[in-house]
């Protein structure tokens, strides 16, 4: 496999990973304006659930997904219930409340699962070869690419093709008008948290399979999610994946060309420059 191909594969899989981590946050933030700093902790929790299921039952790592995807919405909805109690100014206060929630969850994870680092191993470490393109992918990379495309695609289709999805977008764009056409904002909020929880359930096992799980690891995940969501522009699911890829490619390129010690500088400069040039994130600018 050529160096260029290596770069592309790593960049895209890293970017896909970023996007998967960010999806749930982006959805919840877009609809409810809740700045959920406990997002990363929930992903870690989901990862731990998958880890112990995988260890206990010795199943394929991906076989844990149904459980985490089913369970995480419960936690997300519990968070939604807590956030219902938060009063104005909501965005600021939700930020501080979820900061507290993050502390509590981290501590709970520490007590429940100890401070040890946990890894979920992919089932088959075999490389998947695509000789025609000169490609060789690890299972983790394939999983990340496929699942991020799938998740982004499904969420995008849901938002653009179904009534409930359109209602959710309508709520993001104009809450008052959404109420007036008969959209139940409470239900939108619930479905945003539920679907966000679903996506967190999806991201957790992959987080454990790509990185490692430990109680304090949530901060990293939250940072990725916040960065990408704002970078891509609030409420835009496809650009989230594009933004993730762009960031992943830039970081991989920097690590290859300049050295690993410069990668954070490159991604920071990229973010800052793009924000300065397109002050509303990556979104496609509308006229007028």
């Amino acid at each position: 496999m050529s160096v260029g191909m290596h770069l592309v594969v790593s960049g895209f899989s890293l970017g896909s990973f970023y996007a998967l981590v960010a999806l749930g946050f982006a959805l919840i933030f877009g609809v409810t304006h809740a700045f959920n700093l406990a997002h990363g902790e929930l992903i870690i929790l989901s990862g731990y659930l998958a880890y112990f299921l995988w260890r206990g039952l010795e199943v394929h790592p991906l076989a844990t997904l149904p459980l985490t995807v089913a369970l995480m919405p419960v936690f997300a909805l519990a968070l939604a219930q807590l956030l219902k109690l938060v009063r104005e100014p909501f965005p600021m206060n939700s930020l501080v409340v979820t900061f507290g929630v993050a502390l509590v969850v981290e501590q709970a994870l520490l007590s429940a699962f100890s401070a040890d680092y946990r890894l979920i191993q992919p089932a088959a470490p075999a490389l998947m070869q695509v000789p025609a393109l000169g490609l060789a992918l690890t299972e983790t990379q394939v999983t990340l690419l496929v699942l991020s495309l799938l998740a982004t695609g499904i969420v995008h289709l849901w938002l653009t093709r179904t009534f409930s999805g359109k209602a959710l977008r309508a709520t993001i764009q104009n809450r008052e008008a959404a109420r007036l056409v008969g959209i139940n904002l409470g239900r939108m909020r619930t479905s945003a948290f539920a679907v966000g929880g679903l996506l967190i359930g999806l991201a957790g096992p992959l987080y454990g399979q790509t990185l490692y799980l430990y109680p304090a690891g949530g901060l990293e995940a939250t940072l990725i999610a916040v960065t990408l969501t704002i970078f891509a522009g609030v409420g835009r699911i496809p650009t989230l994946l594009l933004g993730g890829w762009l960031l992943g490619l830039a970081e991989s390129w920097a690590a290859l060309a300049l050295g690993a010690n410069w990668r954070e500088l490159v991604s920071a400069l990229l973010l800052v420059l793009l924000l300065i040039l397109r002050p509303e994130g990556l979104k496609i600018r509308t006229e007028g």
């Binding site: 359109k166 764009q173 007036l180 056409v181 008969g182 959209i183 509308t286």
Partner: protein, 244 residues
């Protein structure tokens, strides 16, 4: 009180009081809205017209009083249930979903009643050919008048038969005003019940209004049919005066 209309009223407001931060903005207001006709609420600024409509639609909670839709009380219902029962408010201003296409904006209007959406969409496009041409455009790039059409079309898409309009003429040029008036009359003739709150261009609507109310400082000062109010000498100043 106005004489009871021949048919049972679609919408009845009984002794409605609404307060905002402890101050009453609507006080003891009662009004009957006849079916398949135009009802006009008018009066100077701050009289409480918008508040009445917003309370009927469910955006505000009344401090006292009842709101009956087809004889059933609805004042305790949330907005979406009122929409489901066929009552929808078309708000003041250009309240569109700016990044959704015109078509999506209209479709979302049918959120609570999705059966034969295609037919209603067809009707709305027939009513607003301008929108049909621009169905793929994001609603945010349309002109003000076109955005108003989207808002109105969205209200029609809900399948509601009782439509409340809050200051529909605000910011529209005379050409659009006349055109919208024509749309209102068409709708009434098709069986829709319209309640319009407006202090603009009342001389255009009053002659057509089956019922009308003149509000001042949160109270209903005059009620009657549109032409009656238009003829009322006490209101002549309000309706006819031109700047001296």
């Amino acid at each position: 009180m106005c004489p009871p209309p021949p048919e049972a009223p679609r919408l009845e407001i009984q002794d409605l009081t609404v307060t905002l931060r402890g101050r009453p903005v609507v006080q003891g207001l009662s009004l009957s809205v006849p079916p398949a006709a135009l009802t006009l609420l008018t009066g100077p600024n701050g009289a409480g017209k918008s508040t009445v409509l917003r309370t009927v639609a469910g955006l505000m909670t009344p401090a006292a009083g009842r709101i009956l839709l087809d004889g059933e009380p609805i004042e305790h219902l949330p907005v979406w249930e009122r929409v489901a029962r066929g009552l929808v408010l078309v708000p003041e201003g250009m309240e569109v979903f700016p990044e959704m296409s015109v078509q999506e904006n209209l479709e979302i209007g049918a959120y609570v009643r999705r059966q034969d959406l295609a037919r209603r969409l067809e009707e709305v496009y027939r009513l607003f050919p301008d929108l049909a041409e621009r169905r793929e455009l994001p609603a945010g790039v349309l002109s003000g008048g076109q955005q108003r059409m989207v808002t109105l079309g969205r209200g029609l898409m809900s399948g509601a038969e009782v439509l409340l309009f809050d200051e529909p003429f605000l910011g529209l040029s005379p050409r659009f005003v006349k055109w919208f008036r024509q749309v209102f009359l068409t709708l009434c003739s098709r069986g829709f019940t319209l309640v319009v709150a407006s202090q603009l261009e009342t001389h255009l609507l009053l002659p057509e209004a089956a019922a009308a109310g003149f509000l001042e400082q949160g109270r209903l000062r005059k009620a009657g049919s549109g032409p009656e109010l238009l003829a009322d000498p006490e209101l002549a100043e309000f309706f006819h005066t031109v700047p001296a």
